[in-house]
Amino acid sequence: MRIVEGPELSFPQEKAPAPVADPAHKAASCRVYRVMIRFENVTKVYDQNARPALDSVSLEIDRGEFAFLVGASGSGKSTFLRLVLKEDRATSGIVYVAGQNVANISSWRVPRLRRGIGVVFQDFRLLPQKNVFANVAFAMQVIGKSRSVIRDTVPEVLKTVGLEGKERRMPHELSGGEQQRVAIARAVVNRPGILLADEPTGNLDPTTSMGIMGVLDKINQNGTTVVMATHDDDIVNEMRKRVVELKNGKVIRDEARALYTSMIPVVGQSRRLKDASGRDDAADTNPPQPDRSPRSGEDQL
């Protein structure tokens, strides 16, 4: 049983696109990659008779980027996240995570891949019989971190997510927003290079959701790549980050600093009407310049 206490994200590397040396991360053993997640014509078919969950998706998410994955239920958002985690195997196409083709990761090395990825869910998934500290510490214990490292790291992370002084609370004594903060703390306590969030605000009210987004933004500012699947248009519109929209397993939009719905008017787009806030009007009058056109499979190769 080897205890791995490596640098921030030390994925084992093999054939990989364009490694870029980053002086900010001078962990000698760790080459740093500009592209954290890269999908090349990825198709995922669960059921031969149904349409694919993902249909020839090509996409790159850079180191340190914050990207929203939007789309209706069944559009392939969760499948995307599962493929990054190697929970599922792509039917065709290649998924690279931190420069490594996940199809080439043997099953006994999958845990190392997952140590480089934090995950947050809509339903928090805390352990009800453990207190806040223990819930976060659990993520470190199971990968064999020493007790002293845990003692030092956990309070620090809890401070980052704004839960100082609540270490001894039990999950049922916390509000939904606080529980999600614990879940985020647990996801990032091992300092993963990527944070995947699957509708993290799905169970929270708008105000609390914005608080959570603040936490995610802070984590992103610290250099973690964040990919968040969401339905929450308010949040997307507020954050003005990259938006990748999926529909029926295809990327139909990929814009930087975008809104939940497309700038390009689409027939039947009643959704934006309900968003009658001033900032949305401002967005209308001053649309952001998309610096990233929707990508096709070819221009990535």
């Binding site: 006994w108 997952r114 214990q141 199971v142 007790r147």
Partner: protein, 304 residues
């Protein structure tokens, strides 16, 4: 740290699943007790066979000091009588029926007796003089025992001619049948134990699916995730095996040692120490049983 964590997980798993764990312990206990009982019967058979059983079929006991048989009217066997018997055994009339024969002196007899009855207090009250010397004959055809018997029974200096096999064979066939029954019951109980361990591990994995899900996501290795479950089953099985070993020891000590050996002082019984030789085998069997059945269960019910 990791060891401590795994131990903690095992502890909480055992506590949460206590009734199932107790039933696993009991089922392995019963099944391994039957396995052990079969083993004990075989040990007992070996014990009773003594030194000569597998080597010869017929024993010609010579007259000793206290012999009362008709052929011993002249007192203990003389060297001449002994030499006559040896000549007779070597004569063509007899030697055509036998492979070979050996002479067991009083001292040899005492030595073998001590070995066989080492667990019995009787050994202290016996002296070499009380044991008869004998010719031990290995027959070409054990069925021809009558010929030897008729030829030698009336010879001077011969106390008796017996076919030891015929005496013991009946008893052994009963004991072999009993150990077969024990093994069959043990087989059924072992199937029970395997299924029960599988069910327990399944329940345990189900009741802790949250933890294992999180462990998977944060990149815990397969060993860290699965080991607590496997060890839970193994610990329960080892406790069951230890109980079974203890039971066998108690049977050897109290039933055979204190009761049977007083009822049948002329029978060599196995010692409690000998049954403890079965303990490692039983514990090993328990570990293999629990280990394999929980591994197979986890492969199906705990995705890593």
């Amino acid at each position: 740290m990791r060891l401590q964590f795994i131990l903690g997980e095992i502890g909480s798993g055992l506590r949460r699943n206590l009734s199932m764990v107790v039933s696993v312990i009991l089922v392995t206990f019963v099944s391994l007790t039957f396995v052990g009982a079969a083993g004990m019967l075989q040990l007992q058979i070996n014990q009773m066979k003594g030194y000569w059983y597998d080597k010869v079929q017929v024993a010609i006991f010579l007259c000793g000091d206290g012999s009362t048989a008709a052929g011993c009217a002249t007192g203990p066997v003389t060297p001449e009588q002994q030499e006559n018997l040896r000549t007779l055994l070597e004569s063509p009339a007899v030697s055509q029926y036998i492979n070979d024969f050996q002479f067991e002196s009083k001292e040899d007899a005492y030595k073998h007796f001590k070995e066989q009855f080492s667990n019995s207090p009787i050994v202290d009250s016996v002296t070499p003089d009380q044991l008869p010397a004998s010719f031990r004959i290995n027959m070409k055809d054990p069925e021809k025992y009558q010929i030897i018997s008729e030829t030698f029974a009336s010879q001077p200096g011969v106390e008796t001619v017996i076919d030891q096999r015929q005496v013991l064979e009946r008893l052994f066939s009963v004991m072999n049948a009993a150990s077969l029954v024990a093994v069959s019951i043990a087989g059924v109980m072992t199937v029970c134990a395997i299924l029960l361990i599988a069910t327990t591990i399944r329940l345990s994995a189900f009741s802790r699916r949250r933890e294992t899900g999180i462990m998977r996501l944060v990149g815990a290795s397969k060993i860290v995730i699965q080991l607590p479950f496997i060890l839970e089953g193994v610990i329960a099985a080892v406790i069951g095996a230890a109980l079974a070993s203890g039971t066998l020891w108690a049977v050897a000590h109290f039933f055979l040692g204190e009761f049977m050996s007083k009822q049948y002082p002329d029978t060599a019984f196995i010692s409690p120490a000998q049954t403890l030789l079965l303990a490692p085998a039983l514990i090993g069997l328990g570990v293999v049983l629990a280990g394999t059945s929980s591994l197979l269960t986890l492969r199906r019910y705990l995705r890593v």
